[in-house]
């Protein structure tokens, strides 16, 4: 029962939406289903918040390794929740001056806005900036000329990287017009538009067929592993 009902809903919803795609009068149903999902996900967010509290409170109470991080997480969570939901420091909307909560929660200068601008955004940017270092270390490992494939990869990467710089353009600028195809910037364009595009498309075709096949397995109930055991 616990498995059959979700399976039935999935199959019914999925097949109806597939058919709706081919019928003009029902082509908007996909958007309605997406809205339903958003509502469901919003409700599930409460579940997530509850779980977050439970896990971190347990970690703090057990004094497990890194419990201080849990304390910081909980403090940040509760403070943001409080100033956001309570619209702390937000002025009322001029149209409804008598209602204290009528202002916008992200009003410039409000504590919630301040947390977003001066805590959340810099932290996110810091994490993203770390990517540059990781790209360097991954590239260093990937471009080691260990075998024929790695040498080809290294050579191609060298051309592409050089072709995207002024130095690369300058280095081959002396080539005559009849050899312009060998200019590094043109080689870069050729590699990207022929080899890279062909490889990408092959992967994309495989992905598209894989998605269609997996969706069908889910709709037909052939693959039920994501539905759990079915025991009540």
């Amino acid at each position: 029962m616990k498995r059959n009902v979700p399976l039935l809903i999935t199959a019914l919803g999925g097949f109806i939406l597939i058919i709706a795609y081919f019928i003009p009068a029902t082509q908007g149903w996909g958007e309605v289903a997406a809205i339903w999902f958003d509502i469901l996900a919003s409700i599930a967010f409460i579940l997530g918040g509850g779980n977050l509290l439970k896990i971190h409170l347990k970690k703090i109470s057990d004094k497990r390794v890194g419990w201080a991080y849990s304390a910081i997480t909980l403090a940040a969570f509760l403070i943001t929740l409080f100033v956001g939901l309570g619209k702390v420091g937000v002025n009322p909307n001029p149209l409804y001056p008598d209602y204290g909560l009528s202002g916008h929660y992200r009003e410039i200068g409000s504590p919630f806005w301040w947390l977003y601008e001066y805590a959340f955004k810099p932290l996110t940017a810091t994490m993203f900036a770390m990517l540059a270092f990781y790209i360097s270390s991954a590239a260093f490992r990937a471009f080691r000329a260990k075998n024929i494939e790695a040498i080809l990869l290294l050579g191609t990467a060298f051309i592409i990287l050089l072709g995207r710089t002024f130095a690369g353009v300058y280095l081959t600028a002396w080539l005559p017009d009849w050899m312009s195809g060998l200019k590094i910037e043109n080689l870069t364009v050729f590699i990207m538009s022929v080899f890279n595009t062909a490889g990408n498309r092959a992967i994309m075709i495989g992905i598209a067929l894989g998605i269609a096949s997996t969706s069908l397995k889910v709709l037909l109930g052939v693959d039920r592993s994501y539905l759990g055991s079915g025991e009540d």
Binding site: I18, Y21, F22, I23, P24, A25, Q27, A34, F37, L40, A41, A44, F45, I46, L47, G48, N51, L52, K54, I55, K58, G66, Y69, F120, L123, T124, M127, F128, L131, Y134, I135, S137, A138, A139, R141, A142, N200, I203, M204, I205, G206, I207, L209, G210, I211, A212, S213, T214, S215, L216, K217, V218, L220, V222, D223, S225, Y226, L227, G228, S229
Partner: protein, 402 residues
């Protein structure tokens, strides 16, 4: 009644205008196009009208192009410019019309000096009609039927007990190895099901791989930790892991607190997982789902702590990062085949065989398209045969495959 009245006024206005022109002085310009007719565009969403007219007597000759106009429903009596067609062309499809409105149309011939002929006007108003089936998607419908039919056929074929050959996928063979290694080292296994929600098919594919990983972990009595970035994924992952422990005969070892929610925020989630990896040093890391910029941060951190790493995603931009940083990577299609491959169930293996029919259709489309374009180029686009080949290739690309 109101609409009829507007139509009568509208027609009276047009004919009185035409009369004035006809009785007045000779207007310089090409001869007028004639017999303009409008009809509903077939198999569409109800937003197109097809126009057809007789060419001007000066075409071929002084006509440079034809201008097409539609009536403005908001302003009866006036027309809005829609577009131009080349001389010699006597058909035009007007798009983006409103089904709730009725339209008149007019076409004029224009010469090089910009002189416009008398208009050819439709005599009755017409509204576009929405059909019950979208004909533009008919080729896709047929392809969908063939593909789905083949998947279903091969599932039934596999159920009959006939053996199916599936090639080995190194990344999936490594699942047991990775879990075994974690058990030997007495460390945990980390499973990341991507950062998208349950409406993403890659997340579902990731969760199906999780069921296998959790089952092997349960058999080895290893610890599987699943931090998720969506609440619904957490719920689904909990159900899956619990079912796997039950199947492995160790329901008492299941700990639901090991499958937990972190945050919806991409980099907040990454910061947590990265910190956890550095502190707890899991022996095996699985990344199965939809990933974005966080893919390399996670995989490189895993590499730094010396974990055995298996990744699978259908995000082409993230694949090079996983290939560079992980021990095994399931590329696109292999990732979706994982569930069938790992389960070994005939039903699921049959679906993989059905997928091959889709590949044959795609390969046939590519070969036919390349063949037509090559022939068109060899024969020459200036010849009628060459044009026919190129038009056929264009039809394949723009109509059948769109």
């Amino acid at each position: 009644m109101k609409t009829k009245f507007i139509h009568i006024i509208f027609l009276a206005f047009i004919f009185s205008g035409m009369n004035v022109c006809l009785q007045g002085q000779d207007v310089p310009g090409p001869g007028a196009p004639g017999n303009l007719s409008a009809s509903d565009h077939p198999w569409d969403h109800g937003e197109k009208i097809d126009l057809e007219w007789l060419l001007s007597k000066d075409d071929p000759g002084t006509v440079a192009f034809y201008s097409i106009f539609k009536s403005d429903p908001a302003n009866p009596g006036s027309f809005l410019f829609v577009g131009n067609t080349d001389p010699g062309v006597n058909r035009f499809t007007i798009e983006k019309l409103n089904r709730e409105e009725s339209y008149f149309f007019k076409v004029t011939a224009v010469d090089d000096s910009g002189n416009e002929s008398e208009p050819a006007v439709t005599l009755t108003a017409i509204s576009p009609i929405r059909q019950w089936f979208d004909g533009r998607r008919f080729p896709l419908f047929i392809i969908t039927l063939i593909f789905c039919g083949s998947v279903v056929y091969w599932i039934y074929h596999a159920r009959s007990g006939r053996p199916l050959q599936i090639r080995k996928i190194a990344g999936l063979e490594a699942v047991d190895e990775a879990v075994g290694r974690a058990t030997e080292m007495g460390r945990s296994i980390l499973f990341i099901p991507g950062i998208q929600d349950m409406n993403e098919i890659q997340t579902i594919a990731g969760i199906t791989v999780l069921s296998r990983v959790a089952k092997v972990a349960a058999e080895y009595d290893a610890k599987v930790e699943v931090p998720t970035s969506r609440s619904l994924v957490m719920t689904a992952a909990r159900e899956t892991v619990q079912a796997s422990f039950l199947t492995a005969g160790r329901p008492e070892s299941y700990n639901q607190d090991l499958v937990y929610y972190v945050t919806d925020e991409q980099f907040g989630y990454v910061a947590y997982v990265q910190g956890m990896m550095v502190r707890e040093k899991p022996a095996a890391c699985f990344y199965m789902g939809a990933f974005f910029a966080e893919s390399l941060i996670l995989a490189e951190t895993g590499n730094t702590i010396g974990a055995i790493q298996v990744a699978g995603t259908a995000m082409p931009a993230q694949l090079p990062f996983f290939v560079a940083a992980c021990d095994y990577t399931l590329i696109g299609e292999e990732f979706f085949a994982a569930s069938a491959y790992l389960s070994g169930e005939p039903d699921q293996l049959g679906s993989l065989k059905g997928q091959d029919v889709g590949k044959i259709i795609v390969a046939a489309g590519i070969i036919i398209g390349v063949f037509l374009l090559t022939l068109g180029t060899i024969v020459g686009p200036e010849t009628s045969l060459g044009t026919a080949f190129i038009t056929a290739a264009e039809y394949l690309k723009s109509v059948i495959l769109t």
